[in-house]
């Protein structure tokens, strides 16, 4: 049990954060508190995705300088072979073969174990900025509700809306 808890401790953290957010969204009556809950929920998901990308003994998904230098040098010496390579864009069995161009053995191979998976980073990069702008929309709606009803408490707003309908 202890082993299980330690190995999965990161997920427990995100689940607890997520549940705090969910409780705030369902249980609280104040609209701003609901939005705070939504943000906490969102942060939990972002943390979850980023932790999926973590890999032991791997670095950030940016190629090391020497490798980049070698590849750019190689691209300048043989421009023709670059064209042939870029046409084979489908996901073939490429990872198993060394990442050098054909006929050029001097290019260093890139070891996939040395770098983290870039995909979770990409997804969360856009999700954070989009999250900020959707939170902005939510705050704008809350502001105009406050302007109409003079309150942010859900039950008071509902009562005033009923009074207005009658």
């Amino acid at each position: 049990m202890e082993e299980l808890l330690l190995a999965r401790l990161n997920y427990w953290t995100y689940i607890i954060l997520m549940m705090i957010g969910l409780y705030a969204m369902i249980g609280k009556r104040n609209l701003i508190k609901k939005l705070i809950g939504m943000s906490i929920f969102q942060s939990a998901i972002i943390l979850f995705f980023v932790s999926i990308g973590v890999k032991r003994d791997a670095t950030i998904p940016i190629l090391k300088h020497e490798i980049v230098h070698a590849y750019h040098e190689g691209a300048h010496t043989e421009k023709g072979s670059a064209e042939a390579k870029s046409t084979s864009s489908e996901l073939g069995p490429a990872p198993s073969e060394p990442a050098g161009r054909h006929g050029n053995g001097s290019l260093p191979a890139i070891d996939p174990q040395q770098y983290e998976n870039p995909l979770p980073h990409v997804l969360m990069l856009t999700a954070i900025v989009v999250g900020v702008s959707t939170l902005g929309v939510a705050l704008a709606i809350v502001q105009s509700i406050y302007r109409e009803c003079g309150s942010l408490e859900e039950d008071i707003i509902l009562r005033r809306m009923e009074l207005r309908d009658d």
Binding site: A75, P95, I110, S133
Partner: protein, 250 residues
């Protein structure tokens, strides 16, 4: 109500904790996300196919170009939505009572510090945008930093001072230009006879080979993203902080 909420949270939480046993352990190099061929393809082939060392930038703007295009459209739409929800016209404003929130007098230390900081922040934003190929950075990050510098002006001086530098209509125009740059680069690929956002045909109009032209078009796309993000971040702040009236602000 609170009881139901607690019950729902407890049930969902325990279910999630139960299924978390099947998720890969922390930093496992053989987890499905790290072991799948897509990840290996991005890591080993992105330099060959796009000549961009930062894989995150390559995946963001090239492999997942559609995703990023529509994320940019979402941000633009959010800015327009906030404009539509909050903005009040001049006739409505005169009807509403003027709220004077007891503004503190401008502080010399704060204003001078911010005036010295803002150019540095903006320069850094441009660096983050332009250096996104080689280091962590790109359109989203650079755009947010640039937007933050404008918000800093609005906070330390007055919202009106910031709006003199970038008016609301210009901000929305800038955001639209950003989306148009992104979509236009995609359309240029179609006009040259390839798929939408398939940048390597742009080597016919750019002074570069197909792989390098991918790298250059990624920079163009990121610039469009930065335009939209910075303008919308500032427009959101301007509308929210002044309740749509665009006067004093906070």
């Amino acid at each position: 109500m609170k009881g139901i909420a607690l019950l729902v949270v407890a049930v969902t939480g325990s279910l999630l904790i139960y299924v978390a046993r099947d998720l890969p352990a922390w930093a496992d190099p053989h987890s499905p996300a790290s072991d799948y061929r897509v990840s290996k393809h991005y890591i080993t082939q992105s330099i060959v196919e796009t000549s961009v060392p930062n894989m995150v930038t390559a995946v963001l703007a090239d492999y997942r170009g559609y995703d990023t295009l529509f994320e940019t459209v979402v941000i633009f739409t959010a800015g327009i939505a906030i404009f539509g929800i909050l903005r009040v016209t001049r006739s409505e404003r005169s009807l509403r009572r003027q709220v004077h929130s007891g503004l503190a007098p401008p502080d010399l230390v704060v204003q001078t510090t911010c005036r010295l900081l803002v150019p540095v922040i903006q320069l850094f934003a441009l660096y983050v945008l332009a250096h996104g190929h080689h280091s962590p950075g790109g359109g989203f990050q650079g755009g947010v930093i640039f937007g933050a510098s404008l918000i800093l002006i609005a906070l330390s001086y007055d919202l009106r001072d910031a709006l003199i530098r970038l008016s609301e209509s210009n901000a929305l125009r800038l955001a639209a230009v950003g989306v148009l740059i992104y979509a236009g680069i995609g359309l240029a690929c179609v006009l040259l006879g390839e798929n939408y956002l398939d940048y390597d045909v742009l080597h016919r109009i750019l002074p570069a080979d197909p792989v390098e032209s991918r790298s250059h078009s990624i920079l163009g796309v990121e610039t469009g993203v930065a335009f939209t993000v910075s303008a919308i971040m500032f427009a959101i702040y301007a509308s929210l902080s002044s309740r749509g009236e665009l006067n004093g602000g906070l």
